[in-house]
Symmetry: C2
Subunit: 556 residues, 2 copies
């Protein structure tokens, strides 16, 4: 089978104006970026009426493994399959970050015959949204140090500046730095660090904002530092939110592209799924629901992290409600969860696969029982999966009270996922009511405890005295109503990434708490969270190249 | 008179497709970015035949002063005036850097009734070129530290890594930093720093490259560090050039916009005029000369820095030849050069103005006599200039053997610069032959001496033993054929920014030498050069805002 980029480059795309026309978007609401990408005017989208009966489908997954599950690929394949069976469908995806493209991860625009295109553009700069988010983040950082340099009227404690700069490059050397060296002309030396763009609170704000005014309000609310008296210093105190919003103005309009099979797709925003909520922009999803009958979207990592935040952060704050969920699994991932090492994954091992299905059973139960979302499991089929393995996976899901459907969109495009699409349509017709993991008015500690016990299968949560005091203080300062955003390893239900399957009765220790006042959640960090990845010994950058005729090669 | 942004926002722009059509650019060679910006396909432009008789006009200026001269404004006004008198004209400008927009400088898309539009877009992210240049620069930096982290097979001496990271934000706290702190997982701690994007050698490479293949070759040539044995380490040694070129692929196509009066303009690239050559991309200028009879372009800072590099770096390496030059002056700038302080500039002072004209006389003499470019002085008129002052300026230029023409494009648009346009057309009809300041085969020391004595009016150059040894070594290593790029203060012919007018017999001390092997020049730093500006006490960011309807305000 040809590589992702070969398939993408061989595709015949329709002009983006034609895709827009199919959605009823008038020419004057479209800002083309080249021939195959466009931004759709936000005032136009916000002015559209609600579309009665439009359905939101969430694609989530088992706990991620090195084997790969193919959530984005399945989102695309399902969108194409819905289109093929005659439904009016759209998909919403996160924008890939540039840094990982040159590191290990490669592109993030789907795979095989289920991709959004133009794949190289989407993976490289696309329409510049991440660059804008980077500049807005870094301008705020410069304004902080500049304020201190010019007399520090606000009394910022340079030891308590929490705002970090960002780059869209994987660069471990920037994780911990000292800035402001070189003498009085360069400000006051202090410790700081850089994150990758997707980790910026500006990204989370961008993805939760409903319009430009809401964006500006949220940007102003961001807490960047404390004074010596521990009074929070906000972006608003530095008059930063206006310039930041000006920088983000164009970026806030969603980006329209198409799949290989011409299903329209919004690819917009892309916050981390650990220290942020991991879903594409609310503006894109809300807009898509006005333009199509079925909107397929995805959430980051596995259902314990991504879907939980989709429910408790995104749905709670925006009023969005999913009509169905698809949980993506692969034979390889289930074998890995059953204890098989990466090198042995190509070998058939039905027993291990059955053991590993404890992972999917728990995710399925949370999605259906805890949150009340009708759900189906999609087996993202790979050529080397044996029939016995596939059959065992189907049976295990059945035993857990669910239904698993083999989907072959990677190899066959939308045609390979028609059965999945029909099942999703059926699920959407079932009445359902979304339940949150915890009520708004539960104290922060109880919220975290509810997530750990109800979603992670933990027996309890713990925290040091200092962290407990921090949580108490946030509660007292009036942030108790906010939802909790858990940052923990995505590889396990527990906080130990090596515990595969479905560990139970573990204890979740909260190591650190951070307020994201602009985004509107309290981040509880449980374990080591990497907000600036490094590059591997042989990074993808070494093989990515561009031919003299402009064709990009080596991107995978 | 309304502000720049008010004038720009009130303008009626033509669709960019219409502007392109007027230039004979077919639809398939145009990549629209919204309705009023587009990239023009580089293969299309490179495939166009040369246009016999097309003329290049260089706009340069007196030594910059805090009063402002209006070089970009005059470039735009002249382009519009040429169009008005019936000529087929285009202009080429540098892209504004985002950092200074939020600092002190404000926008850089012209002023008054002589602007390129959409002004906010051009000043903010435009088509993402600078973001791409930033990512390419920072990816190379990450690859260096990553190589060292993963075993350092090349033997890079971390004390001798010269490659710096960049941001498009004015941020003094990043001038000197220590990176790689936090333990073994984060690499080896070392001193480093950040520059503003326009200072990256990638920007200079981008602006001198002729096509994608040349870009990649130049990127590979960049020297980023030395080994302990002082062997240079190149980007090529890190396999970086392919990925960097892939990142820059789309950016390399020039950006087409229009002036307020619909004259077509390429706005593309923007290297610093001190540590780099300060001209828009060679690709843009060369392409414009295939599309129009008259192409007006500008060079950074005053003629001693900008025009000298235009001649000795850009023209030398690309074969471009200017048919005429316009030297921009203002009454206020001449009074400042005559010794008037900023606060007193509004007061008429003919005597000071006459004294200050020594500055323009020297620039005029260099342009005409040293380089052999037919030249005229444009007096960029301001409402408060008195008739006596304007008259004195005209007389002083006459006394220096030149001609000065009052141009009122700021207030009147192209109509105010018609006399200037007619004079430029006449100059272009004069036969001329460009002479460089020094021959290719002069040793580096002699090249620097030629610039200092022939252009700056200096009596000699000096350097420490260490710097002399460095120059000798570059000469021995085979870089002696490269042109010299002088980085010194733009405010004076000397290296002391406070010496106004036309100081003579000063001595230019070379403090530091840097090889820009990718760009193809040797930078000689004479004085303090700021490659990362800071923000003022009240930055422009504090007043820039965006209204709920998306209108950007406070940008100036």
């Amino acid at each position: 089978m040809p590589s992702n980029i070969e398939i993408a480059q061989a595709a015949t795309m329709r002009p983006i104006t034609e895709i827009a026309e199919g959605l009823g978007i008038p020419d004057e609401a479209l800002e083309p970026y080249g021939r195959h990408k466009a931004k759709v005017s936000l005032p136009f989208l916000n002015g559209l009426p609600r579309r009665p009966g439009s359905r939101l489908v969430l694609v989530t997954a088992v706990s991620p493994t090195p084997a790969g599950e193919g959530k984005t690929t399945t989102t695309v394949g399902l969108g194409d399959a819905l289109t093929r069976i005659g439904e009016d469908a759209m998909i919403c995806l996160r924008e890939p970050a540039l840094g990982p493209v040159f590191g290990m991860k490669g592109g993030a625009a789907g795979g095989g015959h289920a991709q959004v295109v133009p794949m190289e553009d989407i993976n490289l700069h696309f329409t510049g949204d991440f660059a804008a988010i980077g500049v807005a983040t870094n301008l705020l950082a410069a304004l902080i140090d500049n304020h201190v340099h010019h007399g520090n009227a606000l009394g910022i404690d340079v030891r308590r500046v929490t705002w970090r700069r960002v780059l869209d490059v994987n660069d471990r050397a920037l994780r911990d730095v000292v800035v402001g060296l070189g003498g009085p002309g360069n400000g006051y030396p202090r410790e700081s660090g850089f994150d990758i763009v997707v980790a910026s609170e500006v990204m989370a704000v961008f993805c939760l904002a409903s319009d430009l005014a809401d964006l500006k309000r949220r940007l102003g609310d961001i807490v960047v530092a404390q004074t010596r008296e521990r009074t929070p210093v906000r972006a608003r105190d530095l008059d930063a939110q206006g310039a930041m919003a000006a920088i983000l103005r164009d970026a806030l309009s969603p980006n329209l592209v198409q799949t290989l099979e011409h299903t329209p797709a919004f690819v917009h925003g892309g916050p981390f799924a650990n220290i942020a909520h991991g879903c594409n922009s609310a503006i894109a999803t809300r807009s898509a629901l006005k333009l199509a009958d079925y909107v397929v979207t995805e959430a980051g990592f596995g259902a314990d992290l991504g879907a939980e935040k989709f429910v408790d952060i995104l749905c709670r704050s925006t009023g969005l409600r999913p009509s169905a969920a698809v949980i993506v699994a692969t034979v390889r991932a289930m074998k890995y969860h059953g204890g098989v090492e990466v090198a042995d994954l190509p070998v058939e091992d039905v027993a291990a696969l059955r053991r590993g299905c404890a992972n999917i059973a728990r995710h399925l139960s949370t999605v259906r029982e805890t949150w009340g979302i009708p759900a189906v499991v999609a087996i993202n089929h790979r050529a080397e999966d044996t029939d016995a393995e596939v059959q065992a996976l189907v049976e295990e899901v059945q035993a857990a009270g669910g239904r698993a459907i083999v989907a072959r969109h990677y190899a066959e495009g939308g045609a390979g996922a028609e059965e999945l699409a029909r099942a999703v349509v059926e699920l959407c017709d079932q009445p359902s009511e979304l339940a949150f993991t915890y009520p708004d008015d539960a104290p922060l500690w109880q919220k975290m405890r509810a997530i750990a016990t109800r979603v992670y299968g933990a027996s309890d949560i713990t925290a040091s005295t200092a962290v407990r005091a921090q949580i108490r203080r946030l509660q007292e300062d009036g942030y108790g109503h906010l939802p909790v955003c858990v940052a923990k390893t995505q590889y396990s239900f527990s906080t130990d990434g090596k515990l595969r399957g479905a560990p139970s009765d573990h204890v979740v220790d909260i190591r650190e708490v951070r307020l994201a006042a602009g985004a509107g959640f309290v981040v509880m960090i449980c374990g080591d969270i990497m907000t600036m990845p490094g590059l591997p010994a042989v990074p993808a950058a070494a093989t990515i190249d561009v031919e003299d005729d402009g064709r990009i090669v080596g991107l995978f």
